[in-house]
């Protein structure tokens, strides 16, 4: 397309374009529509998705990128990289008029209307209208009628889209034309349906009668005719049918794409005025998304202050409390710099809002901590948003606000997961629902879901698609490689499968629906729905806006992330317990102060041995293995520890170089470029990590320093890294970076590793600022575990579910650390686990919450009963009689009294009995259960108390068999998921002659053969996938076994299915004393579980088809599997 040709193009703009944000209706990304329209020589584009404006920012951003000649960011393919063409595109993009609106599909059967705002007021009118429709409907729906639209049409231009039967158009068209005189257009399309001309003439007549203008549109569903097959597929997905069965639900032809203006003129040669109308229409629209004037709310600023002044006042006021002994020169300098920058960028209000939320959390006693680029600033430390002291810790705040990025600061605040909802409701309350909303997350098709849905639409069997989908070990990825198909046992060359995979690959990255962001709040000074439509979330009482993080960034709206973190709940509960039982008051900051104490500190000593079960972030198997190698001895080591066991450094093969350098085996050096480039240019970047890039920021800085990326390019790389990889822009930077670095004289291998690491970050970014925030929680939780093991275990149990380990492991570890653990008992336990004074300090008493299926209201009633009994006991003789030999099978009087006073249903008593909680009444599990079966179903009303008891006929005590230890342990695991009486393997040990215990195994020398049997705790196949890690547990501890993937075929059944595994293999002992059992042979010994319980099963292997008792099948809690 040359310049000359573009001059001769007739002026035409497609004003009815549908993108794939009209979920399962449009088959092109917004950016593809924009680019295609520019290439075809259109003078503008109207993007109107079905009842939403979710996609308009994407199109707007793409156009902005094209104007700045950032073709990659706009999704242009390689062949458009010709500089002359790029210049032409930029030239056209500059004049291109993108208008944004929505296509209203009414629920009252009126024809669709495309609504385009003329100005900012019109935009607000449209977003309010969409808000109204979305709030009225269920999640994801929109319920609007024509009346809603016509109630106020000021500032709007309306294009009425004719329905299939024109007879239904006349009357509504007249109504719309009357309601909005001069602003109504009638869209006419020529789709080659046979009767196009007849329709066109009828529409022209109707338009004339109604006094509106005819407008040529092609009602575009995709940018190029080649998208027809994909459109057919998404239609089938939407209609839940297959292409073969869909019939006339599909379009008859592939005409609904962005045709050239010439072609449109030819199609409309009977009505040239309709083509001309498109230009006139564009003239009417003066609205552009850049006009959205965003005002930050000014709540946190008292009358008479400006935000910056108030922020500075707060900082200088609070700095005295933070640094009672005076501010160091360094902190003073940092604060001055940061405040200057905040003033320059005008972000004071943002910091004040975060401060306000954090203050509120503090007032309610909710623990919180900030992280993110801006969070590690001195300002945030002084304001109490974080607890990482910039004076003590040498952290690089490189990502903190930079003037050239011009992007809003990023502060995420983590709150206790059980109480975050309070904060969310506080924000709604403080700013009002009309001014606060949660951002959306665009849920997109990923390889797994794409192949599933495409396969279904193409009529492949569930079996085949599930295999292809199942062969993906992760959910993310850009395409579905042939090797994965072959791995699933399917022929990658099979045309049907190839077609399904090809279509699925094209579908990947398409938006599926909008969901609410985990906690990103948008706050405004004025009404939020003037800016963006608000819809209902699936969760009651939640609303979210239609734009996601990227859109918000693009429009420069500010967002506060209010996130939930389980460990904060645990830490708060542990600190409360410590205060309650010892009187010592600690908080995050006070504990953090101890983190830089001299070496040899017990907290680091504990971590160095790998004793980290329950500790935040470093409790996974990989982290536990890393601890003895890394040997953290100061706070910054924890920052590295958190960041190093991540896909980024692992994929970039940066872990081992770092460990070697840290151990002093390898010399620390910095890769240097060829002269004339400064040889030390990377030293400043990689100094803290011994010359090895470990953090996301470092990888970015390497790109800028060593590959010569411009600020914009680095920013694009960062975005490509952070956003969903399906956008497919990341690989474009690969050549740029690797070539850039090699051209400057860097080793190609180093360059490729750096980029591999960036790719790894793509799926799991871990910047240093986050690592530092997390490292603090690592330190605090390790400190609790080290100094207050009982309180820590108790708090961990009370915060479940969280972390890697189940109650059994947490309690086992606490016992190993000398904590006394007491069983659940009806006379002592509360709902939560509690601490009780014991001879050797504090003992942990298990609570009723550990009992499967127990309810908190039952527990609370029991606690009231306990208090009542204690009150009576303090006045008179104890009522809870000491155990006596029982002669009767009737429920003992105290059990009956418990049921009656605490008003418990029989089910509650049975649950207690099953959990063996009646020991204090002298009943063991079996006896308690047998007698409790005789209780009435529900507690009788008080009036009948007197009469209820005698109804029970005396039952002769019948002897029941003694319950074996094995049965007790099995029953403990079934009801509590743990046992204080013993470990299953301890009981089964005699049945496993010759097997070593885990402890013995862990003491074996390197290279020795060992056979060990244990309960499977975890099985894991990390991303690289060449080994399977299995953790076994027995009464002495755990052992980590490794099975090479090539042996998986032989032992698949055992590896995937066994609850108890018997592994024979060779011990491998690393120099740091990390022990692995390299599995050579695996046997499934799950059958032993039946022996444990003394179960009887006859009938041969088929008997399992009849013996089907779900609880029976699950004697042990399932292992945690990650694959």
């Amino acid at each position: 397309m040359s310049n000359a040709a573009s001059n001769a193009l007739p002026a035409y703009a497609e004003l009815a374009a549908t993108s794939n944000f009209s979920f399962l209706r449009g088959a092109s990304h917004p950016r593809d529509l924009v680019l295609a329209a520019i290439l075809q020589g259109h003078c503008g584009l109207g993007l109107a998705d079905r009842n939403t404006v979710a996609g308009v920012v994407r199109a707007w951003s793409a156009l902005r990128s094209l104007r700045e000649e950032r073709l990659d960011a706009a999704g242009a393919s390689e062949d458009l990289r010709d500089p002359r063409l790029a210049a032409e595109i930029r030239h056209r993009a500059a004049a291109f008029h993108l208008i944004t609106g929505a296509r209203l599909a009414f629920s009252d059967g009126a024809p669709d209307v495309l609504v385009y705002p003329e100005n900012l007021a019109g935009w607000s009118r449209l977003t309010r209208l969409l808000t109204q429709g979305a709030r009225r409907a269920r999640k994801g729906g929109c319920d609007l009628t024509l009346d809603d639209l016509l109630a106020d049409v000021r500032g709007l231009q309306l294009i009425v889209m004719p329905p299939a039967r024109l007879g239904e158009l006349e009357q509504p068209l007249q109504r719309i034309a009357d309601a909005a005189p001069g602003a109504v257009w009638l869209g006419a399309s020529m789709w080659r349906r046979g009767d196009d001309r007849r329709r066109l003439f009828r529409l022209r007549d109707m338009a004339a009668r109604a006094g509106v203008r005819l407008l040529a549109v092609n009602d575009v569903l995709y940018h190029a005719p080649g998208q027809r097959d994909l459109h057919d597929v998404i239609t089938c997905i939407r209609e839940k049918t297959t292409v073969a069965a869909a019939g006339r639900l599909l379009e008859a032809n592939a005409e609904r794409w962005l045709k050239t203006p010439d072609a449109m003129v030819r199609l409309f040669h009977d009505a040239p005025e309709a083509i001309a109308a498109t230009g006139d229409f564009l003239q009417r629209i003066h609205f552009d998304l850049s006009q959205i004037a965003y005002q930050y709310p000014d709540e946190p600023v008292p009358e008479g202050h400006d935000p910056q002044g108030w922020l500075e006042y707060l900082v200088w006021d609070k700095v005295k409390a933070r640094y009672p002994r005076g501010v160091t020169e360094k902190v003073q300098r940092l604060l001055d710099e940061e405040l200057a920058l905040i003033r320059q960028l005008g972000f004071a209000a943002y910091f004040l809002t975060v401060h306000d939320i954090v203050q509120e959390a503090r007032r309610r006693g909710i623990l919180c901590q900030g992280r993110g680029s801006a969070a590690n600033s001195a300002v945030c430390y002084v304001l109490g948003i974080t607890s990482v002291d910039p004076d003590k810790h040498e952290l690089l705040f490189a990502r903190f606000l930079s003037t050239d990025r011009g992007e809003p600061p990023d502060i995420d605040v983590d709150f206790e997961h059980e109480r975050r909802e309070e904060i969310i409701q506080y924000i709604y309350e403080r700013y009002g629902r009309h001014r606060a909303g949660i951002a959306a997350t665009v849920i997109r098709y990923r390889p797994r879901s794409a192949i599933r849905e495409v396969g279904k639409a193409l009529g492949l069997t569930e079996d085949v698609t599930a295999r292809i989908a199942g062969s993906q070990w992760g959910s993310y990825g850009e395409d579905i490689p042939d090797s994965h198909i072959a791995q699933a046992g399917l022929d990658a060359g099979n045309p049907a499968i190839r077609r399904a995979v090809a279509l699925a690959t094209r579908l990947i990255g398409f938006p599926r629906h909008l969901s609410q962001h985990v906690g990103g709040f948008i706050l405004t000074r004025d009404r939020l729905d003037d800016l963006v439509p608000i819809g209902n979330a699936a969760m009651a009482g939640r609303t979210f806006i239609e734009w996601d993080k990227d859109d918000i960034d693009a429009l420069r709206l500010l967002k506060v992330d209010v996130l939930a973190l389980g460990m904060l709940t645990c830490i708060r509960k542990a600190l409360d317990l410590i205060r309650q039982h010892t009187g010592a008051a600690h908080d995050l900051a006070s504990v953090a102060l101890t983190s830089e104490q001299p070496a040899g500190q017990p907290v680091y000593a504990m971590l160095q041995t790998g004793d980290s079960i329950g500790v935040f972030q470093v409790e996974s198997r990989a982290q536990i293995n890393m601890l003895p190698r890394l040997k953290p001895e100061r706070f910054y080591d924890l920052v590295i520890q958190v960041a190093i066991v991540r896909p980024g450094p692992i994929q970039g093969d940066m872990v081992h170089p770092y460990l070697r350098r840290r151990a002093g085996v390898e010399k620390v050096d910095y890769p240097s470029p060829r002269p004339p480039h400064p040889p030390d240019e990377l030293r400043g970047v990689l100094d803290r990590t011994k010359g090895v890039p470990l953090f996301q920021e470092q990888a970015m800085q390497v790109a800028m320093v060593a590959a010569g990326f411009s600020g914009a390019e680095a920013n694009g790389l960062r975005k490509a890294m952070g956003t969903f990889r399906g956008d497919g822009t990341l690989h474009r930077y690969e050549t740029l970076m690797v070539e850039g670095m090699t051209n400057r004289g860097y080793d190609r291998d180093f360059a490729e590793r750096c980029f591999a690491q960036i790719k790894g970050f793509g799926s799991y970014g871990f910047p240093e600022s986050h690592a530092a925030a997390f490292a603090l929680l690592v330190y605090v939780s390790a400190w609790l575990k080290c100094y207050h093991p009982a309180a820590f275990a108790c708090a961990l149990l009370n915060s479940q579910p969280m972390g890697f380990y189940g109650p059994a492991q947490i309690i086992g570890n606490a016992k190993d650390n000398g904590v006394t653990v007491l069983a659940v008992d009806v006379a002592h336990s509360h709902w939560d686990n509690i601490l009780e004074p014991a001879e050797n300090g504090l003992a942990l008493r298990l609570g009723f919450r550990q009992i499967d299926g127990f309810r908190q209201e039952w527990a609370d009633a029991i606690v009231r009963f306990q208090a009542e009994q204690r009150a009576i006991a303090s006045g008179a003789r104890a009522v809870l009689t000491p155990p006596t030999r029982r002669q009767s099978n009737n429920p003992p009087p105290d059990m009956q009294m418990l049921q009656q006073r605490a008003r418990l249903p029989r089910l509650a008593i049975l649950r207690l009995a099953e959990a063996d909680a009646f020991r204090s009444m002298g009943l063991d599990r079996r006896a308690a259960l047998w007698v409790a079966q005789r209780l009435p179903d529900d507690a009788p009303l008080p009036l009948f108390l007197a009469t209820a008891t005698p109804e029970q006929a005396e039952e002769i005590n019948q002897h029941l068999p003694e319950m074996t230890l094995g049965e007790h342990v099995a029953a403990d695991y079934q009801t509590l998921r743990l046992s204080l009486k013993g470990h299953p393997m301890q009981i089964l040990r005699p049945l496993l002659p010759g097997a070593l215990t885990c402890a013995q195994c862990n003491k074996s020398r390197h290279g020795a053969w060992a056979r060990v049997a244990g309960v499977v705790l975890v099985r894991q196949r990390p991303g690289t996938g060449n080994a399977i890690f299995i953790t076994l547990e027995d009464e002495t501890g755990v052992i980590n076994a490794v099975l090479w993937a090539r042996m998986l075929a032989r032992f698949r059944r055992e590896v995937m299915g066994a609850r108890i595994m018997d592994i024979t293999g060779v011990i491998e002992r690393s120099p740091e004393n990390v022990i692995h059992l390299m599995a050579k042979h695996i046997t499934d010994r799950s059958d032993l579980l039946e022996r444990l319980n003394g179960d009887i099963r006859t009938g041969g292997p088929e008997a399992v088809l009849m013996h089907r008792h779900p609880r029976d099948v699950r004697i042990l809690p399932g292992s945690r599997d990650f694959h």
Binding site: R192, E462, R1052
Partner: protein, 594 residues
């Protein structure tokens, strides 16, 4: 025939049961209850029950259908041969997730269990043959098995899941005793390709428990000697009681693991914990108390007999008699609110020869005249006409299949009815015509055009047997003011025409077809139809190298632009131009408008 098979049986219960059953059939067709039929006989002997359990019924069914049948009694050997066969599992969505509901022996050996999520099963056995569960087909198969096992005893019932129980009291000696009888039953099941467990005991419950919960019942029939039930069942696990899960757990927790542990317990104490019915259940399973099975053999919904003292032979007499039977059937059906879909007339000749004639209708009916007409048509169309010989001494009319039919108002004046009703009435008379034609010509001979969802004209309709065809829905919906978009007559193969003066993107002004020149007076179009890309596999979709554009079959594989064209004489044609890469556009005629 039945009487022949049991000819040498003593006048014992079997014969009595058959007589009672036949009597019941003849009387009013109500369901026959075995227990009610046993009023006579001085003292019933101790009853004996054979329980069968087919642990892999769905898998065995599928393998039978797939033709992988086994030689008689050779399942064990077959198991070894099938080591290489992929594990077969049946899946169904259970609360949102796909779970296994049945497995094959190979799958069981691979560690797959019912209730396991499909994803877990795949992790265990990547090469998995996954089939959607079809409990309806399993039930149908089990029903056929039940009917087949009726050869051993008339008293048998389905014992869900996947089992049968046969009351063989008094039948065993026909096979030479209980052991040979059980062996023959087992042999028959295995010959049908079924894995089977069987046990013989004094109560159905004991037999069932032993068949399903002992290893002994797998390799050979387990036969409990008379009076040995208690001893045999005492060793069973309490799971054999098949209690609700919470009761089962209570027993387990109490350490009561085998039936022996509870048989002697105080029944009041058990009843207070496990419900009032528990002691009786225990008594039945241990053989202490018997409860009969209810045999299932549903008779046809409506059977009417005429037994004639004097045989009749003349056609008009036969027809008159049939008409009477039909009227009676109509009354019965009306009382039941039903209409018949299939009617069978049975003619019993005095010399013992029996003829059956069946007619079907597409809509349920109870109109005696209609059915009579159809029967006459069918009788008239028989290849070997009904030969009365020395006359029929019995004629029976069975309504084999019924469907609910509510009373409909008839005889309303047509002008007050809505148009849809008239349409329906028209449809009804077409159905009647089709029924008659089918009765005369056979069901496959009458075809009907049915809509098929496709934009392509050659695929938009399909011929189906009229009986299977659905009513009018699914045709293209046109506005009342629109002219027909598609021609009434469509050529099977489009015929090339010579077009003249065609604009590059428009319709020809003149064209020659069958050596006739047509001047185009009016044209409308184009209607562009793209090929159905999904029907060609990607490899085939690529244009084959060297294919000539003149290949007429290919024209239907490309995008076509259709025009409705009228010539000066008022004839209307459907022309199209395929979008092939040829230099000069080619034109074809595909149909004619009326």
């Amino acid at each position: 025939m039945r009487n022949e098979r049991f000819a040498n049986a003593p006048a014992g219960e079997v014969a009595a049961a058959f007589r009672a059953a036949d009597a019941a059939y003849q009387n009013d067709g109500t369901l026959f209850h075995g227990a009610d039929a046993l009023h006579h006989g001085a003292r019933p002997p101790r009853r004996r029950y054979l329980a069968l359990w087919f642990p892999f019924l769905p898998a065995d069914r599928l393998r039978r259908q797939a033709g992988v049948s086994h030689d008689a009694g050779d399942i064990a050997a077959g198991d070894e041969d099938r080591q290489a066969a992929p594990p077969l599992v049946f899946v169904a969505p259970v609360s949102g997730a796909m779970r296994l509901v049945a497995v094959s022996p190979e799958a069981l050996a691979a560690g797959l269990r019912p209730q396991m999520p499909l994803a877990d099963a795949r992790a265990l056995a990547p090469a998995l043959w996954v089939v959607p569960a079809r409990p309806d087909l399993d039930d149908a198969f089990l029903t056929r098995l039940r009917d087949d096992f009726g050869r051993f005893t008339p008293l048998l019932a389905i014992d869900p899941p996947h089992g049968l129980v046969l009351d063989i009291t008094g039948c065993a000696h026909l096979a030479g005793g209980e052991a040979p009888m059980a062996a023959r039953v087992r042999q028959r099941a295995r010959a049908a390709g079924l894995h089977v467990h069987c046990a013989l005991a004094a109560t159905p419950q004991a037999a069932r428990a032993l068949a399903r919960f002992t290893l002994a019942a797998r390799e050979a029939p387990l036969i409990v000697p008379e009076g040995g039930d208690r001893a045999a069942t005492a060793r069973l696990p309490v799971a054999a009681l098949e209690l609700p899960e919470r009761h089962y757990r209570t027993l387990q927790r109490a350490g009561l693991k085998r039936l022996a542990d509870i048989i002697d317990r105080d029944s009041a104490s058990l009843a207070s914990r496990f419900g009032a019915a528990f002691p009786a259940l225990l008594a039945r399973i241990t053989g202490a108390e018997d409860i009969r099975i209810t045999p299932e053999r549903p008779p046809p919904p409506c059977v009417i007999d005429r037994i004639l003292p004097e045989p009749i032979a003349r056609q008009e007499h036969v027809e008159a008699l049939l008409a009477g039977l039909l009227r009676e059937a109509a009354q019965r059906l009306e009382r039941a609110g039903e209409g018949g879909l299939r009617f069978t007339a049975l003619f019993y000749r005095t010399d013992g020869v029996k003829r059956a004639v069946t007619v079907s209708v597409s809509q349920p009916t109870r109109d005696p005249a209609l059915v009579g007409l159809l029967l006459r048509e069918r009788l008239g169309a028989l290849d070997d006409p009904l030969d009365p010989g020395f006359g029929f001494d019995q004629i029976r009319l069975c309504v084999d299949e019924t469907a609910p039919l509510t009373a409909a108002q008839s005889g309303l004046p047509a002008d007050i009815l809505p148009a849809t009703h008239i349409m329906e009435a028209g449809q009804e008379s077409i159905n009647r015509l089709a029924d008659r034609l089918m009765a005369r010509l056979g069901p496959e001979a009458v075809l009907k055009l049915c809509p098929r969802g496709s934009h392509l004209p050659e695929r938009a309709a399909v011929l189906r047997p009229a009986r299977l065809a659905t009513a009018g829905a699914g045709w293209r919906d046109l506005g009342p003011e629109d002219p027909p978009a598609r021609p009434l007559h469509l050529f099977r193969t489009p015929q090339p025409v010579e077009a003249m003066d065609a604009a590059p993107d428009g319709c020809p002004l003149r064209f020659r077809w069958r050596r006739m020149m047509h001047e185009v007076a009016a044209a409308e179009g184009p209607e562009r139809l793209s090929p159905e890309w999904w029907r060609a596999l990607p490899a085939a979709a690529a244009p084959p190298q060297g294919a000539t554009p003149t290949d007429d079959a290919n024209t239907l594989r490309s995008t076509r632009d259709y025009y409705r064209v009228e010539d000066r004489e008022g004839r209307r044609f459907w022309l199209f131009r395929p979008d092939d890469a040829g230099a000069t556009p080619r034109w074809f005629i595909h149909g004619l408008f009326p």
